[in-house]
Amino acid sequence: MKVTLFVPCFVDQLFPHAAVSMVEVIERLGHTVDYPEEQTCCGQPPFNSGYWDQARAVAERTLRVFRDAEVVVAGSGSCGTMFKVFYPELFHHTPFEAEAKALAAKTYEFSEFLVKKLGVTDVGARFDGRVTFHDGCHALRELKLKEEPRQLLRAVRGLDLVEMKEAETCCGFGGTFAVKFPQISTAMDEVKCHSIVETGADVVVSNDSSCLMQITGYLNRHGQAVRGMHLAEILASR
Amino acid sequence: MSEGAPRSDAAAILGRIREALRLPAKPAGAAAPGHAPGSAEIQPWLPHVGPTFDDRVAAFAAQAAVLRAEFFRFPTLAAAAHYVRDLAAQEKWDRAATHDAPLPRALLAEGGVLSWNVAEGYDKQALEAAPVGVTGCEALVAQTGSVLVSSRASGGRALSVLPSHHVVIATADQLVADLPAAFARVTAAYGKDLPSLLSFVTGPSRTGDIERILVLGAHGPKRLTILLVDEAA
């Protein structure tokens, strides 16, 4: 099938390798990846700050970009949530309501796409190392994805998956929250990173690059050796 | 009401409520679908209790153990009275406080325990200092291990909560399966004329306020002893 990729703006700018890995994995499974180059952003930053008119202005354009896609894979839990949960609300009682609902219905987060749409848990990956998974809050609670990333990781050869105590606890990113309330954000980061280090994992994996940015930002500042990788990067490993 | 008394603002509040309710809200739990909104009838979502009397006794006993309430079952009142005699001697009760109901009075009389009756009026200090309050109850609830006391069946409001040891006696027919059954029982017994106090007592008084560590006997009784008698006669 033709899979249309939505690459979040911060993944495009800061973590392009995560998106490259998504392309590799999807192609390895025999599907075509389309990437409409005019895409930019889902509109989450103004949305989360309460500027819904501005969010709509960006989202309207994004709706157009993906209008003709059959299946959309969103490269982060938070952008996936924008498409699936908040676009129908943003466009409620507007001329774009039907289109927003249509996009919501055909969008999948990356792990959701592999496990629920394709029915695949083994993508033929190999990664030697101990890994712990951080549940991004949007993917976990808005998209109800908990087992799917873990099923994928458990099928990776050589990978030792350990659960951290605070797997479901927010890392403290929360978009602009991270800079508007940096002291609270960092305290939450501290709790998360402590839990990660406690597992003895070599790598912390997540389905949200913004969480990884928050987590690795703290780990690196504190000289911890634990690396951060997007789920797709692990799955692309051979 | 005297002159300076504030006037109840019911009309204004009701007006604001009616105005507010002109706009309808989304149905309950709509943001988190997964269960079709159905009737709000209480279904057995709470812990299940088996159908037989022995099932109820077992469930009640299990809960009581977890709650650190003492629970004993006796075939006859005489057997329960025997237990109370021993308890009174062990605890060195001078006099037990009780009320005007046949079962607790018979229990204490047969057990040879001196008692006094709060129904004749009582001094708060005297009740505060009483070693034990012995009462009847409305029901025992198997599902939760609760004793349902009331101001009618348990000698008022203070007797079952002020002395530091509460002994309560119930008969087999009073052991109901669950909370809905308990509510049905009191409604059937009293209709609109409910006792002014009904209280589900679930274990001794407790607090976790200090470092979340469980301590029994915060203000209510530190010790709760529940006696179930198969036959009252």
Partner: protein
């Protein structure tokens, strides 16, 4: 930034830096979580129970006028006096007037957050009445002249040595580090107060319309004593507490116990149907219920957030909230802390002054997930943000997002900006850690990711052109 907002930032900074206290709070809550899992597992279907509880509350709140009127009729038929207070002042005046008329000398209180809301204790003390808090946690914070830290566990932030020191200083007791001995000190101190008091003031967890009864959930037994011994009992209750039927308690009481205290039922769940009735041994001669609006009708008038009135004040949302656990209850600076507090306080006390509570959240959704009556808490925080902006946008922020829209709706311009971001990051590295650093809020405590050599768009364009992946 409002005064409350800047105080919040200041207090949050202090609290976030207090690692031992934060660790203690998390440790204290770990027992609750372990026990709650076990208690919840005993339910046949916890999710179905949540839905049923939500539906009961929906029915009650969306027919609030009907049920409040039914409640009042049935309560008054049993001799209860029901007073409807539109605001704090009316509620306080009623109670103060009652104290005067009935020549009250001594007052004992069981836990009621509504009384905190209307600052009742201050008003009573100002009028010369001594008020004794009988709930152990409330007593402790009252003696320390602190606000409650958590509306279910008022002193969860205190260690036993701190409590012992407070008792030594205020009650003249001997020092001890044994929780049982500390509890007994409070018990002994309060026994006399219960016996002495001629007025008992309580709150309530539920009002039952069908029977005109008031329901109080507790563990200690102090509310039972407050409503048993004094000659007058006054209960102060928010209007949203009403439930339609007595049988509704068969679900709501266990939900409250489970979510609030990880107990299937707390030690005492008591129903008060009136003052002492003919033939009863004891009980108050008079029973007054003060129904309080105090801007709850404002919440009611917002159909999007009306379900906030479903709240049964269990406190579970506080227990799961990472913000609450890291900044603590005092930082909120208002009666109701945590997610529910952050949702309703802007409605109760003013949106512009209190919107910062709705902003101080990562919107993780743990609160919504745990709420026993399915309030859509974290989405309400988002809605408060939207409402605050619609009412009064923040100038620079609006300009920033206008710029954001401009950029994001022009992919050519966006691509161009991508070329500059590695440069931007290099420039930023020069000023990092100094006051010139525009990303200082981040870089003070966290590293930035390294600038990748190419953006995804660049990589894809190369691939499209047949170049290296």
């Amino acid at each position: 930034m409002s005064t409350a907002a800047s105080t919040f930032q200041h207090d949050a900074t202090a609290a976030a830096a207090d690692r031992p206290r934060r660790d203690f709070i998390r440790f204290a809550l770990s027992g609750y979580f372990a026990k709650r899992r076990v208690t919840q597992d005993a339910y046949g279907d916890w999710q179905a129970a949540r839905q049923a509880a939500a539906e009961i509350k929906f029915e009650a709140v969306n027919h609030l006028d009907t049920y409040l009127e039914e409640f009042t009729r049935n309560a008054e038929a049993r001799g209860t006096k029901v007073f409807w207070a539109s605001n704090s002042a009316q509620a306080r005046d009623y109670i103060l007037n009652l104290c005067r008329e009935k020549e009250i000398r001594s007052i004992v209180k069981s836990k009621t957050m509504t009384s905190e809301e209307i600052h009742l204790n201050d008003a009573l003390e100002h009028a010369g009445y001594g008020v004794v808090e009988s709930d152990l946690g409330e007593l402790i914070v009252q003696l320390r002249k602190e606000a409650p830290y958590h509306f279910v566990f008022p002193c969860m932030h205190l260690k036993r040595d701190e409590i012992s020191a407070t008792f030594e200083e205020k009650l003249g007791s001997a020092p001890t580090d044994d929780p049982e001995e500390l509890t007994m000190i409070a018990r002994r101190h309060l026994r006399q107060e219960f016996c002495r008091a001629d007025l008992g003031i309580s709150g309530a967890n539920f009002l039952i319309a069908e029977t005109g009864t008031l329901s109080i959930t507790e563990n200690e037994g102090n509310a039972r004593l407050t409503a048993a011994l004094p000659r007058i009992h006054v209960a102060l209750v928010g209007i949203e507490k009403v439930l339609p039927k007595l049988a509704d308690l068969a679900l709501l009481l266990p939900m409250l116990g489970t979510a609030g205290a990880a107990q299937l039922l707390t030690a005492y769940n008591s129903l008060y149907g009136g003052p002492r009735q003919p033939g009863e041994v004891d009980g108050p001669e008079e029973f007054h219920i003060v129904l309080l609006d105090n801007h709850r009708t404002r919440l009611l008038a917002d159909p999007e957030q009306r379900d906030s009135l479903h709240c049964i004040r269990c406190g579970a949302c506080l227990n799961v909230c990472p913000i609450f656990k890291n900044v603590g209850g005092h930082t909120y600076g208002t009666t109701y802390q945590g997610p529910i507090g952050s949702v309703i306080t802007p409605h109760l006390r003013g949106l512009q002054d209190w919107k910062h509570l709705s902003n101080a959240s990562s919107l993780c959704g743990a609160c919504t997930e745990t709420c026993p009556v399915k309030i859509d808490l974290h989405h309400h925080l988002l809605q408060n943000r939207r409402n605050a902006v619609a009412q009064k946008p923040v100038g620079w922020e609006k300009a920033l997002y206008r710029g954001f829209v401009f950029l994001m709706n022009r992919p050519g311009l966006y691509r161009l900006s991508g070329k500059f971001s590695p440069l931007g990051l290099r420039l930023q590295a020069v000023v990092q850690g100094t006051v010139l650093d525009p990303l200082r809020a981040w870089t003070k405590t966290r590293d930035l990711p390294p600038a990748p050599p190419k953006t995804f768009k660049q990589l894809w364009a190369e691939r499209r052109a047949g170049g290296p992946r």
